[in-house]
């Protein structure tokens, strides 16, 4: 008893220990590693595809994708292309798997009752779960951006970066901007993860939560592309995900960035509260 009381004196240390265990669980699962591997392979494939396309003298790959025309001149742009393309489905789906599985997966295995009886604490479980989702979101974003940067450097010329506003900045400046873009995208994915966490508290079948998240992303993106719904566009969860191009201008379009980050913050709070309200009062019957 005395020993356990002493050890419990520093709650933050106990939280960190639980968090580390959660990270081992998330990043030790073969399924999650496969997801990361597949997400990391996309930028390589995109890079090779675009390299072949430009080599054949075509003006560029798929129409309508931003940054394609810049890529031939600078490999750094492969990162922005990869993030734009993967943000439509691959990255949200990957984060959705980690987030949708967070609570529902534990309920499905029956480990949720084990954790609660320990007692791990309901709010503590939720906070550890969300922290691990955020780490996963950051990891997949930086993995995609990093692999794309390396692939771009290998397949395309590298040098001073000509931004969307026409200004040319040194390569180092361009890489710093890429870092900021990755942080912005990670914030978008983290806020999406909060939605996943909330969905995950509503079911004990993680597949249901994951499917619901995927459907929501697609519906939101479809509505975002219908001009008649312009009035609701700024409020859609996916609307601001691609606004990171605001960082590729001189001066930086802080208005757009700010509204994007505000949207992420509000969604994180909203879904976090829903997750908390649901999870702190729910009977765990599995």
């Amino acid at each position: 008893m005395t020993e356990s009381v002493t050890a419990g004196r520093v709650p933050i240390r106990g939280w960190l220990r639980f968090f580390r265990s959660e990270l081992r669980l998330v990043f030790g699962r073969r399924r999650n590693l496969w997801i990361l591997a597949v997400a990391g392979a996309f930028p390589v494939l995109i890079g090779i595809g675009l390299r072949l396309a430009t080599h054949q003298g075509n003006s560029g790959g798929p129409d309508g994708v931003a940054f394609i025309s810049q890529l031939a001149g600078n490999g750094v742009f492969l990162s922005f292309i990869a993030l734009t393309l993967l943000l439509t489905l691959v990255m949200p789906l990957a984060v959705g798997v980690a987030a949708g599985d967070s609570i529902a997966g534990e309920a499905g295995y029956g480990t949720l009752r084990t954790l609660l009886a320990i007692p791990a604490g309901r709010v503590r479980i939720l906070s550890v779960k969300y922290a691990a989702i955020v780490v996963f979101a950051v990891a997949i974003t930086f993995l995609v951006a990093g692999v794309a940067l390396a692939t771009g450097a290998a397949l395309f010329p590298i040098g001073p970066v000509t931004l969307l506003s026409g200004t040319t900045v040194p390569l180092a400046d361009g890489v710093v901007r890429l870092l900021l873009v990755a942080l912005y995208v990670a914030a978008a994915m983290a806020s999406f993860g909060a939605m996943g966490l909330a969905f995950s508290t509503l079911t004990e079948h993680s597949l249901g939560a994951i499917a619901a998240l995927a459907i929501l992303v697609v519906v939101s993106e479809v509505i975002d592309n219908v001009p008649q719904f312009a009035a609701v566009h700024p409020y859609l969860p996916t609307h601001w995900w691609n606004s990171f191009d605001a960082l590729l201008r001189v001066p930086v379009d802080t208005g757009t960035l700010g509204r994007g980050l505000l949207s992420f913050g509000i969604y994180t709070l909203l879904w976090g509260s829903i997750a908390w309200a649901r999870f702190s009062t729910a009977d765990v019957t599995n």
Binding site: M1, E3, S4, V5, T6, A7, G8, R9, V10, P11, I12, G14, W15, R17, F18, R20, S21, L25, R29, R30, Y109, G110, T111, L112, R113, T114, L115, L116, A117, I118, P119, A120, G121, R122, V123, R124, I125, S127, S280, T281, D283, V284, T285
Partner: protein, 342 residues
């Protein structure tokens, strides 16, 4: 109550208060309560309107082995879920080791080991890693002693050799034992085991019983549920019997035995004459079937009844006293299952 608990957890997570240190108000922790588990009128009504647990008043004395019995579906597991704060009672109060639940969960549950409705572990982790996960989730556990405690817990349930095997590849008995090992990770004052022998072969059942006995000798209160009286009656000192959500009996096992009236049974070729004698002696609940006459023994001595029968000229072929088995008493309390005909 819930609000307080959540606020405490939030504060604790933020490092603002330390919950695990007993405070002055928590008198339960300072002066050990006489009852390890006490509940008054706990009721659980599901959304569907079904009442799973109906005004259950549990009183589990410290240091006893309490058998919580009842057929499947009688509300045992729902009751246990409420005791451990997994589910919230619709009404009623619960105290575990003198601390109110679920508001005191953070404070009291570290002193309670439990296995609820079968073991719940990650199939893709090894037995050792599963226990390490449990230990990491426990804010009161000391990380420096984790390896030693995990090893000891696995050793106690005989799983040390299989510690590096994935849980997925464990047999049912090994899974149950790992569940018990998890409840033994830290020194406990109360162990709650829900159907620990479920799905075990007779050998495994015997091992679990031996383990319960061993835990009890260390002064730990054991609360063990089962739908089979025979599996736990040898280790229990107290029993509570559930039937359709209600607690129909609670007390020392001896008391349950005493509630059963012994009967005298006479085999004779002249049942009518024997019946007349027993009737004259004032014995209650006379029954005659074929060559057998039986009646409640009451305070009478069987020797005297025998003498009376012989004096009355009844040729007694056989005479004996029958005490119903606990199993029969148990079935009498809980009702026959379907398709059970004697």
């Amino acid at each position: 109550m819930t609000g307080t608990r959540i606020r405490n957890e939030a504060l604790s997570a933020a490092g603002l208060v330390t919950i695990s240190e007993p405070t002055a108000e928590s008198a339960g922790a300072a002066a050990p309560a006489v009852l390890a588990v006490a509940s008054s009128g706990i009721t659980k009504r599901f959304g569907s309107g079904q009442v799973a647990v109906d005004h259950v008043d549990l009183a589990v004395p410290r240091g006893c082995v309490y058998g919580f019995l009842g057929p499947n579906g009688s509300g045992k597991t729902t009751t246990i879920r409420m005791l451990l704060g997994l589910a919230f009672p619709t009404s009623g109060r619960i105290e575990m080791l003198g601390v109110p639940m679920p508001s005191g969960a953070v404070q009291v549950l570290p002193r309670v080991g439990s296995l609820v409705e079968g073991p719940g572990f990650y199939p893709f982790l090894t037995g050792w890693d599963n226990l390490a996960r449990c230990d990491a989730a426990d804010r009161t556990a000391n990380p420096r002693t984790a390896a030693a405690r995990i090893g000891e817990a696995l050793d106690r349930v005989g799983l040390l050799a299989a510690a590096r095997k994935r849980y997925r590849h464990y047999s049912l008995g090994m899974k149950q034992r790992l569940g018990i090992a998890a409840s033994l990770l830290a020194p406990r004052e109360l162990i709650v085991l829900d159907e620990p022998t479920n799905g075990l072969d007779p050998q495994g059942t015997r091992e679990v019983r031996a383990l319960i006995r061993q835990i009890a000798t260390e002064g730990v209160t054991v609360f063990v549920s089962s739908h089979l009286l025979g599996e736990v009656e040898q280790v229990c000192s107290h029993v509570g019997v559930m039937r359709a959500g209600r607690l129909v009996f609670q007390g020392p096992l001896e008391e349950l035995r005493r509630t059963s009236a012994a009967r005298i049974r006479v085999q004779t070729a002249e049942p009518a004459a024997a019946e007349a004698v027993l009737h004259r002696l004032g014995l209650a609940d006379l029954q005659v079937s074929g060559h057998q006459v039986s009646a409640q023994l009451g305070e009478d001595q069987p020797e005297r009844i025998c003498t009376e029968l012989v004096h009355a000229g009844v040729a007694v072929r056989d005479l004996g006293v029958v005490v119903p088995s606990l199993e029969e008493l148990f079935v009498g309390l809980t009702g026959e299952g379907f398709d059970v005909h004697d």
